[in-house]
């Protein structure tokens, strides 16, 4: 007897989801660009495959990164994922060894106890039953945590948990029912036949003492099968789609595919790989400083999955990248948000359930209508000075003249042939427009600035503003070395072009988002600071550094909330009671200095203060500045 009607819902669900995932992955593969297809093929026969298997085991099953961030939350994810995997693996082995024949269909493993109620009499069989019970207990412990988390997120060490939609709730209920119904079904069957181990056996014997266990078991086997079937069928419409999708994501990432700046297969796989674990919500300063809890990346990805209008979410973000760094799945959240910004957050909304199953590209690709005429045709043609080094202060630096003046002093002291590209007010670098999703307009400014840089003949472009630095590096097609001024000063220190005094001041360093997380420049500013002062740690260093709140990326944040974020960052930086708070961004300087009494200084200012006045022949490699070149400064 290897068939009973109750296995039908399970089988429908299982084969549905298998066919669905295969179909979906074929569509995904077909939509990949040609280079990405080649990357994937190369990855399949190369190192990437092995790396992916390792990463799938560590991240998709063990959830190592979540464990590192939050032990209890990690345990919850691990027990459900790894436990379920073990249950399937051991169940299949059990059915293969102890079943009537080998290579059984999946339902034989899942409902093994029902079809083999006598199993577990001998010592070896009993030992195996003990193992199965242990795995089930492992899953149930995680499930209890999950249920507690749903009602009180603090219990697992999370400040916030994600809010759910109706379908998510049904899927969640079916997921929650799977393991308790298995426990009850197995217990009652074991109780009736006197088998089972410490969990199912004990519970079964107790049930058997006052219930007709054999008859009572049957409805629970139905419930078990039904909840599994429901869960599988709803999987593509809910966040649980991440279970199959994350495997593709890991393999694609290891093959070298990246999000880029257009919506495509990879961004779609990323969107579906989010498990809504909520780590991005806890990492978000908008959440823990300003109490804004509906715009975080988990909600953005959820809204994209539902093809909703995301304009309220996409533009209300500092783009500081804290969630990017913390995401345990490694989704490039900021890049996805930029893609959405270019599309202005348009979405059609999923109006019926079939749309949810059949849609292939949830990230809208229809961009805004272009304006009829260029907007910046008023810009005058300029003729730049010839120079080796071009200094671009940037709009924000012009609002903080002390940084600009310090850089002039440093550049003069370097003795190099330099020119000030935007001395009497330049043109914006274009990044603020890009952050607002106006790439086409930004391109006009980029072309204007590029022409100036080409004509100057410079080989190095130094900028004081990390916002400009990022866009010069990533979106300009320039044949010059782009340096942030901290990198430039670091070079000056290394080749001993400029000598500096040690200032004997204690400083904390605020790593600007655009320079640190978004451009990967962490070390040079700190090394420069260590050269001239005593650098203190703040607990918010490198990848974990805070955003000042002044970010130009957020178009919606209101001034009172901005102040809350800034004052939190200022308090964290002031905590070690430093003499200076050092930063490397004029915008951060301006935002933070409004919130603290401690002096906030740009690294350039601190360095300019510490420069040793050149002595005629006491210095190595000292170059005397050419008075004609620099007289106008």
């Amino acid at each position: 007897m290897h068939f009973d009607p109750f296995i039908i819902p399970f089988n429908i669900g299982l084969y549905f989801i298998l066919i669905y995932v295969v179909g979906r992955s074929i569509i995904w593969f077909r939509n990949l660009s040609r280079p990405d297809k080649l990357r994937l093929q190369r990855g399949f026969f190369g190192m990437a495959f092995g790396q992916s298997l390792k990463e799938i085991f560590l991240e998709s099953l063990i959830h190592r990164k979540i464990l590192k961030t939050n032990l209890r939350l990690g345990y919850m994810h691990m027990s459900l994922a790894f436990g379920w995997f073990l249950l399937i693996l051991f169940g299949t082995i059990e059915a293969d060894i102890f079943g009537s024949h080998h290579l059984n269909p999946p339902h034989m493993a899942i409902f093994f106890r029902f079809f083999n109620p006598d199993h577990g009499k001998t010592a070896f069989e009993n030992g195996y039953a003990f193992l199965m019970d242990l795995v089930l207990a492992f899953i149930l412990s995680g499930l209890i945590l999950a249920i507690i988390k749903r009602f009180s997120s603090k219990s697992v060490g999370m400040k916030k948990t994600t809010r759910l939609k109706h379908l998510d709730k049904i899927a969640l209920a079916s997921l929650w029912l799977i393991f308790p119904s298995r426990l009850l079904a197995e217990s009652l069957t074991s109780g009736a036949y006197g088998t089972g181990s410490f969990l199912t056996g004990t519970l079964g014997a107790w049930f058997n003492s006052f219930l007709p266990a054999k008859q009572a078991a049957y409805p629970f086997w139905w419930l078990y099968s039904l909840s599994l079937g429901t869960f599988f069928v709803l999987l593509p419409l809910t966040r649980y789609m991440h279970i199959p999708t994350e495997l593709f994501l890991i393999f694609m990432r290891n093959s070298g595919i990246r999000t880029g700046d257009k919506a495509g297969t990879y961004s779609e796989v990323e969107v579906h790989s989010c498990s809504s674990c909520g780590i991005c919500i806890d990492a978000c300063q908008m959440s823990f400083s300003a109490g804004i809890n509906n715009i975080q990346s988990a909600y953005l990805l959820k809204a994209i999955r539902k093809d909703e209008d995301t304009s309220g979410i996409v533009f209300n973000c500092l783009m500081c990248g804290r969630c990017d760094v913390k995401c345990p799945v490694g989704i490039e959240l900021t890049s996805i948000r930029m893609i959405q910004r270019r599309a202005a957050g348009a979405g059609n909304g999923i109006h019926n359930i079939w749309h949810g199953y059949l849609r292939t590209n949830p990230v809208p690709v229809t961009a805004k209508q272009p304006a009829s005429k260029p907007s910046y045709d008023f810009l005058p043609a300029r003729k730049p000075e010839k120079a080796d080094i071009l200094y671009f202060a940037g709009c924000m630096t012009h609002l903080t003249p002390s940084i600009k003046n310090s850089m002039v002093k440093i550049l003069d002291a370097s003795g190099m042939k330099w020119s000030f590209m935007d001395e009497d007010g330049g043109v914006c670098c274009g990044r603020p427009l890009m952050l607002a999703g106006n790439d086409r307009e930004a391109r006009e400014l980029i072309n204007f600035n590029s022409r100036l840089i080409w004509k100057s003949g410079a080989h190095t472009l130094v900028t004081s503003c990390p916002i400009c630095y990022k866009v010069f590096r990533e979106s300009y097609y320039l044949d010059v070395e782009v340096l942030h001024h901290t990198q430039f000063i670091k070079q000056l220190i290394e080749d001993e072009t400029v000598k500096m005094n040690y200032l004997n001041k204690r400083v904390t360093y605020h790593s600007p988002c655009e320079l640190g997380r978004n451009s990967g420049v962490y070390d040079e500013p700190k090394e420069v600071l260590r050269h001239v002062a005593d650098l203190e740690k703040t607990g918010y260093d490198d990848g974990n550094s805070l955003c000042c709140g002044g970010s130009l990326a957020n178009l919606r944040l209101q001034s009172p909330d901005k102040h809350k974020i800034a004052s939190f960052a200022a308090a964290a930086l002031s905590a070690p009671a430093p003499d200076y708070i050092a930063t490397a961004c004029p915008l951060c300087k301006k935002t933070i200095s409004a919130e603290t009494k401690i002096r906030v200084a740009d690294i350039a200012e601190i360095v300019a203060e510490s420069i040793v006045k050149p002595v005629a022949n006491g210095m190595k490699k000292q170059r005397i500045p050419n008075p004609i070149e620099t007289s106008k400064v």
Binding site: A371, S372, K373, S375, Y376, F378, L379, P380, C395, M396, H398, L399, D424, G425, G426, V427, C428, G430, P432, L433, A436, N438, L445, G550, L552, L555, R556, L557, Q558, S559, P560, L587, K590
Partner: protein, 114 residues
């Protein structure tokens, strides 16, 4: 034609019926801080675009509030969104979003002169 130094001057009448407050209302609804502007001119003084051309966010603000949308409709496209005006604004007006919402409004109501 001889010019005698005389001409017919246009009637100096403000036609309130011609003013369209829809844009101002649309912006104020989407970005409430638009109402906080006291027209101090700080934004115009620091403006990157204003350095190259006659562009004044203060003027745009006043004209939109009045419902005279023709000039702002063409001017507004010149903004580079660099954000200096946010930093100098004493009233905490989210100026960049005002500009973006105004562009939306002009497109929506078909006033964009470009």
């Amino acid at each position: 034609m001889n010019r005698f130094g005389y001409s017919l001057s246009k009637a100096r009448v403000i036609d309130y019926d011609a003013n369209n407050h829809a844009v101002a209302e649309y912006i104020a609804e989407k970005e409430p801080s638009f109402r906080l502007c006291i027209a101090c001119g700080g934004c115009a003084a620091t403006c990157t675009t204003g350095n190259f051309t006659e562009f004044s966010l203060r003027e745009i603000n006043i004209l939109i509030h009045r419902g005279e949308n023709r000039k702002p409709g063409s001017d507004i496209r010149k903004c580079m969104l660099c954000g200096k005006c946010i930093l100098v604004c004493p009233r905490g007006v989210n100026t960049r979003n005002v500009v973006i919402t105004a562009r939306e409004a002009f497109k929506k109501f078909g006033i964009n002169a470009l």
